[in-house]
């Protein structure tokens, strides 16, 4: 009997560790990623040939670990620059430089990771406004800063981290503004101590930023970008309600992360509502099994857990695959991973609580504010449809207004739209449902020359 075909989508920490575990167990997994080199978001690499010393900071060893794994494993069939744009039954649809293609699988591990959660604020569509993750990608991949005078604003651990990385790279960071209050961060110290190493790093980043004269402001509200053709200033109110204006030519702004769940949706996985992430995520067991027998989930793609958890989950999920294939599994290793994942989960919960969801940003969105830039849909249009057409459910809102029907298919605007709809119709965010996905998960070109 031929070896079962295990395909992994995503070569971030989760996918790479899953591939490694399977390869060491004697399988020959296929590892697919649309990026050019392995590493995923956190350990994203510059283009081949480029050297960017220092970009991984304290994570340099982990980064090198992930980057080096594949080279040492002949058994992994690694396919970079390959977009998986659909899953149907036991088949993946692919897009490569050569054109459209497909890949069959017996078992599928989705390790698709996360992207920034962008929330609208006045001026957020001006050229020069990036997400925090986007600002980081510019640095790690292209080796450039997003501007000469950079203001960073938002919520989540990426905020102090990106500030630290920008300063380290010699960029001029003119403000670090946290839209969540400071108090919860102190309150959560105990929970954060579940991962003392990570906590220490977080404190270190914050301390370093402070030493470099970059004290973050907390509890910032009413943020606004201004500029004629492009960003010229960031305006905000501090925790005391005093307005400030900071001249800058680029802004990095986002509030935490959201899981990239579209492939799991197309694969038919059942979803559950994640109260902390305020997002519907594919249901997964601690071992990485989804509700669909042949489909497994690892890493941030099924709920945000961070890079260390992603590595652990990648390994743990691979063990579940091996077990389900009737292969021998190191039970002690499985138990060790389960214990470490439990500790990670405590840390993550504390971290999320330290950065409570910035409701005030959404409460403040004015009617004329653009929510979906692809289709040009304002908050007012969404509120009007909710009110006049009783669109109390997000797919209904999509049908009436085209929200989520543009290039991003709701990956960027979907969260904000759901939050606004929940407020307009007086139900919780959970009550408005989730956008139904359709292939392709990212745009694909019209091409001929296929069978």
């Amino acid at each position: 009997m031929a070896d079962p075909l295990v395909v992994i989508v995503g070569a971030g920490p989760a996918g790479v560790r899953a591939a490694e575990t399977l390869a060491l167990a004697g399988l020959q997994p296929i590892l697919i990623d649309e990026a050019e080199r392995p590493g995923g978001q956190i350990y994203r690499q510059p283009p081949a040939g480029a050297v960017r010393p220092g970009i991984y900071g304290l994570e340099i060893r982990k980064a090198a670990g992930i980057h080096g794994v594949l080279a040492g494993l002949g058994a992994v069939d690694y396919r970079p620059r390959t977009l998986v744009w659909n899953v149907f039954q036991d088949r993946l649809d692919l897009l490569t430089i050569e054109g459209h293609g497909e890949q069959r699988f017996d078992r599928l591990i989705l390790a698709t990771g996360a992207m920034d959660r962008a929330l609208p604020f006045p001026g957020w569509t001006l050229p020069g406004v990036f997400t925090l993750g986007g600002a980081q990608i510019a640095l790690k991949s292209q080796g450039v800063s997003i501007g000469r005078r950079v203001a960073l604003v938002g919520a989540g651990p990426l905020l102090p981290l990106v500030a630290h990385q920008y300063v380290g790279a010699g960029a001029q960071v003119v403000a670090v503004l946290d839209v969540t209050p400071f108090a919860p961060k102190l309150l959560q110290l105990l929970g954060l101590a579940a991962e003392p190493g990570t906590l220490a790093k977080g404190l270190w980043y914050t301390a370093r930023n402070r030493m470099q004269g970059l004290a973050a402001a907390y509890g910032v509200r009413a943020i606004r970008a201004e500029g004629k053709r492009q960003v010229e200033a960031l305006i905000y109110k501090d925790a005391m309600g005093v307005e400030h204006r900071i001249a800058c030519d680029a802004i990095g702004a986002s509030c935490g992360l959201r899981s990239e769940t579209q492939l799991a949706d197309l694969a038919g996985c059942a979803f559950v509502f994640d109260q902390v992430g305020r997002q519907w995520v594919p249901q997964r067991t601690g071992q990485g099994r989804s509700s669909v027998p042949a489909v497994y989930l690892a890493g941030d793609g099924a709920g945000i857990g961070g890079a260390d958890a992603a590595e652990l989950q990648g390994r743990r999920t691979a063990l579940a695959v091996l077990e389900d294939l009737g292969r021998p599994v190191d039970l002690a290793e499985a138990a060790r991973l389960d214990r470490r994942l439990a500790r990670q989960a405590r840390f993550r919960k504390a971290l999320e609580n330290a950065y409570p969801f910035p409701d005030h940003l959404l409460d403040d969105v004015a009617d004329e504010e653009m929510v979906c830039r692809c289709e040009g849909i304002t908050a007012g249009a969404l509120r009007e449809a909710a009110r006049d057409k009783d669109a109390a459910e997000i797919n209904r809102l999509k049908a009436f207004t085209r929200i989520g029907m543009g290039r991003c298919q709701g990956r960027v605007c979907g969260h904000a739209a759901a939050e606004l709809l929940a407020r307009a119709s007086g139900v919780g965010i959970e009550g408005v449902g989730r956008l139904r996905g359709q292939p392709p998960v990212k745009p694909i070109p019209v091409l001929g020359g296929v069978p």
Binding site: A399, R402, M405, Q409, Q438, P439, P445, V446, V450
Partner: protein, 383 residues
């Protein structure tokens, strides 16, 4: 606890047909309860290509299509909102001499029903649509055909029905209906509706409803496969179809180009469907033959939907053959969006007057009892 309602007419199914019927029935003063399994206008009516097309229909459908077309002109006013109907013209392309002969024949026949078509040679077709690909040898243009936004039409009819006093219940799956004496009893998990008349406008679910009344109909699923690009500069100024119906293209005013072709997968029982990649890729290739300029344009979404299809590709519209006061309207075979508004009026006429001025005899349900083999209509696969 079961809620009990009493009404004149119960409608099963909140697609365009059912919702338009609710409006027309309220207009003649009848009490209406409409029961929709999901959200109104979210089935075939909400996910279709949006073609408001008369050209190419079976000739027996043309009188209905003509009457419906007149309603489309007044629809915004009637519904109180813009459903993005535009008479862009529908052009049907011939890719061979045989195709062209078919178009010529059809144009002659259609003229007898008052539908004026303009036949164009290759040069004239190219003058109208300069971006046309190599394969086109001629075309037939129906200037008054066009398209509308399907996501808006059904829900707008449902809201109008509500404003007119119809009791429209969404997320109300009918799981039983029966005739008891002179009345109907229609049930969902939470509701029991007692009515004098019953309308079966349940789309692909209509076969099951008919079977509750001892009527077996050869209703099968048809699952058109659809693709849409990102917004592009406007250049596809007309709704475009071909002889054979295997590909069709239009561009919405936002700039997105919608193309259809081939079949998706569908589960008629669960009313669940989706696109299939092989069909999407084939659809792309065929579209490129007609519209080479689309090469490299980005597809941002593909989808499918399920409509009920009859073996002869024309619907069932009219009274039940087994049960008095039961009216069927289903089996639109992939082209019932354009007909929706008139089907609503016809249903109301049948209920209020016992007959319709429109010639609906060809759509009798009894046709399946009589003939064992039915000829497929010439233009069967168009939407």
């Amino acid at each position: 606890m079961t809620e009990r309602l009493t009404t004149d007419v119960t409608i099963i199914g909140g697609g365009v047909a059912g919702c338009a019927a609710a409006v027309a029935l309220r207009r003649v003063g009848l009490k209406v309860v409409l029961l929709e399994k999901g959200a109104c206008g979210a089935g075939a009516s909400g996910v279709n290509f949006g073609g408001v097309r008369q050209q190419g229909r079976s000739l027996v459908e043309l009188p209905l299509a003509r009457r419906s077309r007149a309603i489309w002109d007044k629809l915004n006013e009637m519904l109180g909102e813009d459903v993005e109907f535009e008479a862009t013209g529908h052009i049907k392309l011939a890719r061979s001499e045989a195709d062209m002969a078919e178009l010529e024949r059809y144009a002659r026949d259609a003229a007898e029903h008052g539908l004026e078509l303009q036949l164009l040679g290759a040069n004239a077709a190219r003058a109208d649509l300069p971006w046309l690909g190599e394969k086109v040898v001629g075309a037939s243009l129906c200037a008054e055909d066009g398209a509308a936004n399907p996501r808006l039409v059904g829900p707008a009819f449902a809201r109008l029905a509500r404003r007119l006093g119809a009791d429209v219940r969404e997320h109300a799956l009918v799981n039983a209906a029966a005739r008891e004496g002179e009345r109907f009893e229609t049930r969902t998990d939470a509701l029991a509706v007692d009515s004098r008349f019953l309308v079966n406008a349940a789309g692909i679910g209509a076969g099951k409803v008919a079977s509750w009344f001892g009527e077996e109909v050869p209703l099968g699923p048809v699952v058109p496969n659809m693709l849409v690009t990102e917004p592009l500069p406007i250049f596809v100024t007309r709704s475009v179809g071909v002889c054979g119906g295997d590909v069709y293209v239009r561009q919405v005013s936002r700039g997105n180009v919608i193309m259809g072709g081939g079949r998706g997968w569908g589960d008629a029982e669960l009313l669940h469907s989706g696109p299939t990649t092989d069909q999407s890729l084939t659809g792309m290739r065929k579209t490129l033959d007609l519209v080479p300029a689309l090469r490299g344009a980005h597809i941002i979404r593909t989808w499918a939907g399920i409509d009920g299809q009859m073996p002869d590709r024309i619907p069932v519209i009219g009274f039940s053959a087994t049960t008095p006061d039961l009216v069927h309207a289903f089996g639109f075979s992939g082209h019932g969006f354009q007909l929706g508004p008139v089907v609503g009026e016809i249903i109301a006429e049948l209920i209020a007057d016992g007959r319709s001025p429109s010639p609906i005899e060809p759509f009798a349900i009894t046709r399946f009892a009589e003939a064992s083999v039915l000829p497929a209509a010439a233009a069967g696969v168009e939407h």
